[in-house]
């Protein structure tokens, strides 16, 4: 991984961990967070798009969704 990428990732993780205790979203305030537009999901549409993009491009991964071995190009 390039140095810049390592630094950005490390800063992001540290910032996330350091501030985790500061977030005070109460259970009754989570209505918007439960909206389907706010969820990092792996819907069938997202999985298929990821699958075929990885079949066309040289990179993969990073978003925690599933891909698969694939066919004739």
């Amino acid at each position: 991984m390039p140095r810049v990428g390592r630094v950005i990732f490390a800063l992001a993780v540290v910032a996330g961990l350091a501030s985790a205790g500061c977030a005070t979203v109460k259970p009754w305030q989570r209505g918007l967070l439960a909206d389907s537009c706010m969820v990092f999901d792996s819907s069938a549409e997202t999985s298929y798009m990821t699958h075929w993009q990885e079949a066309r491009e040289g990179s993969m991964g990073g978003f925690g969704v599933q891909g698969g071995g694939c066919g004739c190009k």
């Binding site: 501030s19 977030a23 005070t24 298929y48 991964g61 698969g68 190009k73």
Partner: protein, 345 residues
Amino acid sequence: MALTSVVLVVAAAGYNWAQNQLDLSFHAFQDKRGVTVLSPDADFSKDFSDRTNLKVKFGVDSISAASNSCARCHPDGANNGRVVGSASVTRKYGDSKVTVGGEFSKEMFYTATTGLASISRDLNNANTTVAAGFAFSLNQPVLHPSRQTESQRSMDTYVSLTQSWTKGTVTQFGYELNQINGYQTNPFLRTSVNSVLTTGNSPDARTRHAVSARLRQALPAETFLEVDYRRYHDNWSLNSSTLALGLSHHFGDTIVAGGTYRYYTQTGTYFYKPSYTGSPTYFTGDFRLFPFDAGSVTGHIELTPKGPFLNMPAGSSLTLEYERYRSTTGFVAGIFTGGIRIPLK
């Protein structure tokens, strides 16, 4: 034949527990070469208790018309088919969830078998979720037209941190490490070596890193912003960046519509050249290892009527999506997806 490794890792959002539902999707892909892929698939999710959930997926790819590589030997066209099935079980232990599962896919000249395990845990009153997953895949390409079979082993590790910042802001940071050992040459894509078209030769080991940052932000007037960024690097010196920006909007209680723009750019591998002379150790004709940029635009709409519709129970939804993809290599493709989600008792 694409020797893409199978990667099957946990989706790490972790906020919503599973529901009993059936998702039926139909995907249609067509590119400017005339290659068409029709892919129906079904996802079934069932809670067996308040702590245990089963997910089963079955899909088919029906690939018609000849690609550039197939057309050399099959000028009248060559069809292919792929069948994929997967299953996973998730069990809750307090604020933690553990998932184990596997996937198997089979097609002409390629078989892939994957096992996976993952764990996630909610912290800080569910405002923070940490997750980790591991997958091992055995991929077995057949070097058509010979019957020789090669093997490739892929190990994949993924960690993520999901954080709710406010009642309308959530982020996720992820890191994925993938190690592939074994045969990784594309047996069907050729390049010019001393003016002779020759199947490539790629290294037998590849280490891949990807870091990602994602944001979901609720905006005024029932509108939502989606931002995804990924930086990728591997030891073949292929680097890439991906940025996707999307907006979605609720039109009343029954319609959600939106669009996404995605930009992708990558360098070539260290051994990529348009053509080769002499006796190179590594050489490739695989378009995935070339330098190029790509952009795509996606539009989607989801309808969830309040009552039953199309003989389906209340709560069912219909999703339509279309993506247009264009790269600087001249590749252009359109992808249509239609899906139905049916809640089950």
